[in-house]
């Protein structure tokens, strides 16, 4: 292994927490959940709020997410990040935080997320589940919304439509991805959907935006999570085995799906290549994958773009259940956004599970010998791609 990159394994994730319930709902406000996640993740690391000098948050009820969060926590950080790239915000913030820590701009950073779309929707207090209908004076309001595309699933359906046209990908192949998710969620007592399903079950579920059916689509639940990062030097003295950050990469290609250059290829080609190069690793070195599964097609595109199979061959690649328990490419071992939880942005949960797999804490769903984990966030409508490769002491 050639460790030439100056950022490789200089930092680590040392604390994690997430809150997910099989009911899909959580008690408490978004702020109270954020604070709880920060407390739990710091406790996990063996740190306290007094150690924190950097905060990252991508959503708030006001105008400045990390600023308002720091005020609520009563701290005066020397580093903040409110970057918003949708569901990949947390991978991007981890990349930024790792660079800042390596450069000496911060020492202990918390990245946090909480959202309660399911319980807020039930209470009638709006939130993520409320419907669009007012046209903002944006390019999307002017040139996309008038055509009534369901968001975000319509955009992903267009990508699936094109992938099927160019490469002959089938609904059965996409369905296998959802089937594989349940082989993991059935082992996860906190998962929302734990019943095993078949390809036929997916094909029999109601069409939403063709060719995507209900079981091709992620959940809508409450959820919260946090990760704590620090320098590799400090990480070695903390409570848990560090999950070293071996490589990161980010690439955004568009905001609106009508501006996506090629609907069968995402910015993960770039983010993945950057992360592999920094890590000095390739796809065959990855033991466990955490890939953003907003929809089954998202996984298919990411597998191709991150080099796990050639472009266009994602359909045949997933058809034999490689992503499920016992498969050659264990992926989304919580059950993912399709079966575990999906509060609007899933990226934090990818990082939390990647770390737990590297620590060997996952019980029934543990991937034996997991030394390298890849967490990949996808934000917007396949818009913002961010890859984080993590490793154990043995692979740093």
């Amino acid at each position: 292994m050639i460790a030439t990159d100056p950022f490789r394994a200089r930092t680590a994730i040392v604390g994690v927490a997430d809150a997910v319930d099989p009911s899909g709902e959580l008690d408490g406000t978004v702020r109270s959940l954020e604070v709880r996640m920060i407390r739990e993740a710091l406790t996990d690391a063996g740190l306290t709020i007094a150690d924190v000098d950097g905060v990252a948050s991508c959503i708030s009820p006001g105008w400045a997410p990390s600023l308002e969060l720091a005020e609520y926590l009563g701290i005066a950080p020397r580093w903040t990040d409110s970057t918003q790239t949708g569901g990949s915000s947390f991978e991007v913030q981890v990349q930024h935080a790792a660079a800042a820590i390596a450069a000496g701009m911060a020492e202990v950073v918390v990245v946090v997320y909480a959202a309660t779309p399911k319980s807020s929707f039930k209470r009638g207090t709006g939130g993520f589940g409320s419907r669009q209908g007012v046209l903002a004076p944006t390019p999307s309001g002017e040139f996309e919304v008038p055509y009534g595309m369901r968001m975000p699933m319509g955009a992903y359906a267009l990508a699936a439509s094109r992938h099927m046209y160019e490469f002959g990908t089938t609904s059965e192949q996409l369905a296998q991805i959802a089937v594989d998710s349940r082989t993991w969620s059935s082992l996860n007592p906190r998962a929302r959907l734990r019943e095993p399903i078949t390809v036929d079950d997916v094909l029999a579920s109601p069409m939403q935006a063709s060719p995507l059916r209900k079981l091709d689509c992620c959940l809508m639940t409450d959820g919260a999570g946090a990760v704590v990062l620090t320098s590799a030097e400090r990480a070695r003295d903390l409570r848990r085995p560090p999950a070293y950050i071996l490589g990161t990469g980010t690439c955004t290609t568009h905001a609106m799906v009508s501006e996506m250059p090629d609907l069968t290829t995402t910015g993960a080609v770039v983010s993945g290549a950057d992360a592999y190069r920094q890590a000095g690793l390739g796809p065959s070195d990855v033991d466990v994958l955490q890939l953003y599964d907003s929809f089954t097609i998202t996984i298919l595109l990411l597998l191709e773009d991150l080099g796990f199979c050639p472009k266009g061959e994602g359909g045949p690649f997933v058809a034999e259940g490689v992503l499920g328990r016992g498969g050659s490419h264990p992926a989304n071992t919580t059950g993912g956004g399709l079966a575990y939880t999906h509060p609007g942005m899933f990226g934090i949960f990818l990082l939390v599970e990647a770390v737990r797999q590297l620590r060997g804490e996952c019980g029934d769903r543990q991937v034996e010998g997991a030394e390298v984990a890849l967490a990949h966030g996808s934000g917007g409508v396949l818009s913002a791609m961010s890859t984080v490769i993590l490793g154990t002491e043995a692979t740093r």
């Binding site: 046209l135 040139f143 996309e144 008038p146 439509s161 935006a209």
Partner: protein
């Protein structure tokens, strides 16, 4: 050019907002003309209309009439409406269409044979009236 009436029993679509850069585009729709913003320096079309060319950042731009013809790049049938004004039209087809001028637009495919549309199909612009005398460009399939 073809006018496509609003389906019986459905609401008027919400009128799209008009950005400064897209005023010529929307004005032309009153005459049911499809314009494409153009960068003469790059000799290429631009959509959505911008204050500067996204290739060269030049701001000397013009608008050119489109042939109104193109090819479906990708399409999806919505089983339920994407916003309340589309209620009653479902199922309906949302598509990305690549125009002859080299730009891509999100749009609807309409007409009796819309449900069978597939990527690669040739299509031609049609116009749905909006309440403010503008028209919304939609597309119909061209019979082989």
């Amino acid at each position: 050019m073809t006018v496509v009436p609003r389906p019986d029993g459905t609401r008027e679509r919400v009128s799209p907002p008009i950005s400064t850069e897209a005023e010529p585009f929307w004005d032309a729709t009153r005459e049911r003309t499809l314009l494409v913003q153009w960068c003469p320096a790059c000799d290429r079309g631009i959509h959505f209309p911008r204050a500067a060319c996204p290739t060269c950042l030049g701001d000397v731009l013009e608008h050119r009439p489109s042939t109104g013809e193109g090819v479906v790049y990708a399409c999806s049938t919505m089983a339920s409406p994407g916003n309340p004004t589309m209620s009653g039209r479902e199922p309906y087809v949302v598509a990305l269409v690549d125009l002859d001028e080299g730009i891509r637009m999100l749009t609807n495919i309409v007409g009796e044979d819309a449900a069978a549309v597939a990527p690669g199909d040739p299509v031609r612009v049609a116009w749905e009236p909006l309440e403010d005398a503008r028209h919304l460009p939609v597309f119909v399939r061209i019979k082989a």
